[in-house]
């Protein structure tokens, strides 16, 4: 027999979970239904000057690909240093705390910093490169903290076993620690990227423009991006049909869900391979 207190707690917990689930389903359904009725293959493959959204889609992929290419090695190297080499003391804790704070900084501040530092100070201008660097700054704390935790989850036994055989430290990390941590590392990289995949504020002043002549052919060219296009549709041209906006929203939602699905699949694949 459950007490009243037990019942109340159970109800409150279940109620919160239900609201969350409901909100997720509602948003997905709403965007799904409106987006699906608006989207079509022609729109995706047609140039923006003929009413399509081809350039913003490719521009978004350019932006993400470059950010992944810069942020992944940098983030992994930092996480490996912090987790495996840096002395575990006060300075290490301060760095970790700083990263936690950085992960929570509003994205518009990254945008401002990117504009002031990369676009103006370094003279990179409104360009794909400035966008990559700004988004890298924004996603690094997430990648580093997640990777650090993934490395910490590797059982100490594995390292001791390898080092007891005479394996040097870096080889132990390369052969034993990193492969074991791969699902966690991949997950944190993908989560870091999915955080910036739908980013608007940070690219607002650093890399995106409403209309360009063509796709960027150099990292120093500006780029059209889906989120920014969506933003300008709503803000600058209030008369236009909402269909286009919902089509873009659906693509962005699909992108994020796809990234998370990828993270999930990687975790499952590795979990089946070695159990301990």
């Amino acid at each position: 027999m459950k007490t009243v207190k037990e019942k109340t707690v159970l109800f409150l917990l279940a109620f919160s979970a239900a609201i969350l689930l409901l909100a997720f389903v509602a948003i997905t359904l709403f965007i799904g239904v409106r987006g699906l009725s608006a989207i079509n293959f022609r729109m995706i493959t047609t140039s923006i000057r003929k009413g399509g959204i081809f350039e913003p889609i490719i521009g978004t992929l350019y932006l993400l690909a470059g950010t992944i290419a810069i942020a992944t090695p940098l983030g992994l190297a930092t996480a490996i240093y912090l987790a495996e080499y840096a002395p575990k003391g006060k300075i290490n804790r301060i760095i970790v705390q700083a990263l936690n704070n950085l992960a929570g900084v509003p994205s518009i501040i990254f945008g401002l910093f990117g504009y002031a530092f990369f676009c103006r100070f370094l003279g990179l201008g409104i360009s794909l490169l400035s966008g990559w660097l700004t988004l890298t700054c924004m996603t690094l704390p997430i990648i580093v903290r997640g990777s650090q935790e993934a490395l910490k989850m590797v059982p100490k036994d594995f390292r001791v076993a390898a080092e007891a055989l005479g394996t040097p430290k870096w080889k132990t990390i390369k052969d034993i620690v990193l492969p074991t941590a791969t699902p966690g590392l991949a997950t944190s990289i993908i989560l870091g990227i999915s955080r910036v995949a739908g980013e608007t504020a940070a690219i607002l002043f650093t890399c995106s423009v409403f209309l360009t002549k063509s796709l960027p052919t150099s990292p120093l060219h500006p780029v059209m991006v889906l989120t920014y296009h969506l933003y300008t549709l709503l803000v600058a041209s209030p008369g236009t049909s909402m269909d286009r906006a919902f089509a873009i929203a659906l693509i962005l939602l699909g992108l994020v869900i796809l990234l998370n699905l990828l993270a999930y699949l990687i975790r499952m694949r590795y979990r089946r391979r070695w159990k301990w």
Partner: protein, 256 residues
Amino acid sequence: MEVVGVKPKMEVKNLNVWYGANHVLKDISMKIPEKRVTAIIGPSGCGKSTFLMTLNRLIDLVNGARVKGKILLDGKNIFNPGIDLTKLRKKVGMVFQKPNPLPKSIYENIAYGPKVHGVKDRKTLDSIVEKCLRVVGLWDDVKDRLQDSAFELSVGQQQRLCIARTLAVKPEVLLMDEPCSALDPTTTRKIEELIQTLKNNYTVVVVTHNMQQANRISNYTAFLYLGRLIEYGPTQEIFTKPKNKLTKDYINGKFG
């Protein structure tokens, strides 16, 4: 303390170890005879495992550990700044209390060590794997599933795999930290028999809290208590006529 008549493989001189402010090993000096089994006995927390870990400097991996003193391996101090840790740990292998296979296949668990030390030829690796698995009596059980994960083996098999893995890099000294404590009596007996055959080729140092086991398998026994080496000598003497009252009380089960 002296061991008469046998050449020492390792020599520990005034060894002190601290964990932070905690003085865990106090002024230990002893010679470890070549191609003999030396047992380290003593109650929990007396520093047995710490002692073992200093012998191949795995203690370096412990945060906040500090070591003073000398340990000579074939006359050379392993704490010399110029020492090559990779070579030291190849020479002085270790088997742990809890089996700790690498997250790799059965085959790779054995082949990994030789690869680290430069063996590349596939045939040589194959033969090392087979030979080492035969020594520990595991070959017939696993020869058809060498590519399976090592974690699919039973705990006893895992421990024998770990011994085989340690043998694969051709060590000269074998450190064993309570290698049977996680195992059932049958597997324990197998491993004890294995240790008996190993001493023909290796210098074995085995930590155990099981006094019957120390009595059965070792030629020499050292008794550690609260970080000090209380008594050290031929196993028979330690167990039949201990010189120190603490040793006598411990062996008779008055504390532990």
